[in-house]
């Protein structure tokens, strides 16, 4: 199957990515690098890759149970006993946040 620019844009929306050329940052190789986020180009590239994946249809799989993990002996759930999260109080979890508000992660107003 082929992916058209409209479908590419819809997939990008689901993935929380921008393809529009006017998007800030624009999808180079890092913050601020302008360029490649164009729906047509991405659609062409995806069509080529997804087209190749259609070789899977040549494989007879009726009655084959899908294998989502190679684990043969999954770990049983452990007892639900609270433990220290890393060192100290766990405040370090906030240390990597780009913006915080007191002891909370901060996001734009949603109401």
């Amino acid at each position: 199957m082929s992916v058209d620019p409209k479908a590419a844009k819809a997939i990008a929306d689901l993935a929380r990515l921008s393809l529009a050329p006017e998007a800030a940052g624009g999808g180079g190789d890092g913050p601020g690098s302008p360029g490649a986020g164009e729906p047509g180009r991405v659609a062409g590239e995806m069509s080529k890759i997804v087209g190749y994946m259609e070789i899977l249809n040549e494989c007879e799989t009726s009655g084959v149970e899908p294998m989502y993990s190679p684990m043969a002996d999954p770990q049983p759930p452990r007892e639900d006993i609270p433990r220290e999260a890393g060192e100290g109080s766990g405040d370090w979890i906030l240390d990597g946040a780009p913006e915080t508000f007191g002891r909370f992660f901060s996001v734009p107003r949603i109401f």
């Binding site: 689901l14 921008s18 913050p31 294998m67 989502y68 190679p70 002996d73 990597g96």
Partner: protein, 490 residues
Amino acid sequence: MASDPRLARLDLAQAREGLLKGDFTSAELVGAALDRVAETEPALQACLCVLGDQALRDAARLDAGGPDPAMPLWGVPVSVKDVFLVRGAPTTAGSRMLEGYMPGFEAEVVTRLRAAGAVITAKTNLDEFAMGSSTEFSAFRPTRNPWNLGRVPGGSSGGCAAGVAAFQAAGGFGTDTGGSIRQPAALCGCVGLKPTYGRVSRYGIVAYGSSLDQAGPMARNVRDCARLFAAVAGPDGRDSTSSRVPPEDLSALSPPEAKGLRLALPRELWEGSFDAEVGKVLDSAKGLLASAGISLETVGMPSLRFSVAAYYVIAAAEASTNLARYDGVRYGYRTPSKGDLLSLYRESRTAGLGREARRRILLGTFALSSGYYDAYYRKAAQVRRLIRDEYARTLEEYDFILAPVSSIPAWPFGSFTEDPLTQYQLDVMTLPLNLAGGPGLSLPAGLGGDGLPVGVQIMGPHFREKALLEAGILLEGIFPRLPEPPLKAL
């Protein structure tokens, strides 16, 4: 004071002997490794972060307590790919998204390495989030191959392989999702082990494909790989994908007899088109094995024809899920522009993630989306079972599977960066094993006429790394020994 350059070239067994006898201290050994890093890094660019002061402090602390024979890696310098969380060092996973991220905890692999007495000297370069086969998709810089600085080192654990090959560390740890340990090891002329899925804890490793990722060692010989592996293998209650199968005792390894050993050579991996130099080395390797009395038999594994397609559906699906966490809120890059929550997500992710990471997220989102899930993701998972079953059947009949690692040697920079599908197809030799979940060991088979190393891999039954490593020791003794890499552009 300048260190003794010979110290950096010692293998782990020699380093351990010298340390325990007191011929040199851990600080001297680690100092020699760090000097070698300083000397070679301008050419190689193998490291994203060198832990100079921290490593020297760790070494001095070990020296103060004196050599401890109970610690199998006491005092030796080890590098780790920059997906392992190391306390006190930034973890970027090769992405601008995580630039400056300081983890609050440590990967279980690193904790076990420290408990075994190892000193972590550097965090090595990789393709962004381990997605790639050349390190060219590192957001920071590509690593160069020590055998020819104009060539890629392979990937995604390319920094680790280049550094180990160039004596920056006695050994290192990478991760292998579709060949990311075995392929760079082969392209850089070192040994790399991808353990069985579930054998090594994934706790504290930046995730890419959660049903495929497995951490493992790289070193300059098989026994060193075994030493590094033994220090980290075994169950971890903090990783739900860690197996409870008890680890094997690897303290004594004896290679099997060549006569009577039966290797299966899958037609699907040996009958493709090969670079001429690679083909010559592979032919010569097969000749050497046969002369030694090892039986080589061609077998059919017809499902391997579907492995690249199945792998890239599954890996992309898992990548899109794992990378959903990079949202500009909890860690990593956040767009400075002020919009609503959705545009915060979109703009942070679009700017913070590189080209290949975004491509795989889009592919994975497509494969998991309603309407396409059954045709792609479920179908790929069915094919995966067929591939796993073929491995199991082949290994019931043969001791190991023998295969090339790459059909081409280390390639010039830029060869495939604009052609993702061709680059994906180059992974055909290595990625079926990740789908099957078993262990594989890549080791040098010789040097091509172009001066570039060529590797082969052997693959064995799940959780039987000991036999695999022992067979690796046998093969290593049969294949020619590589010279020191020249660190020049040829």
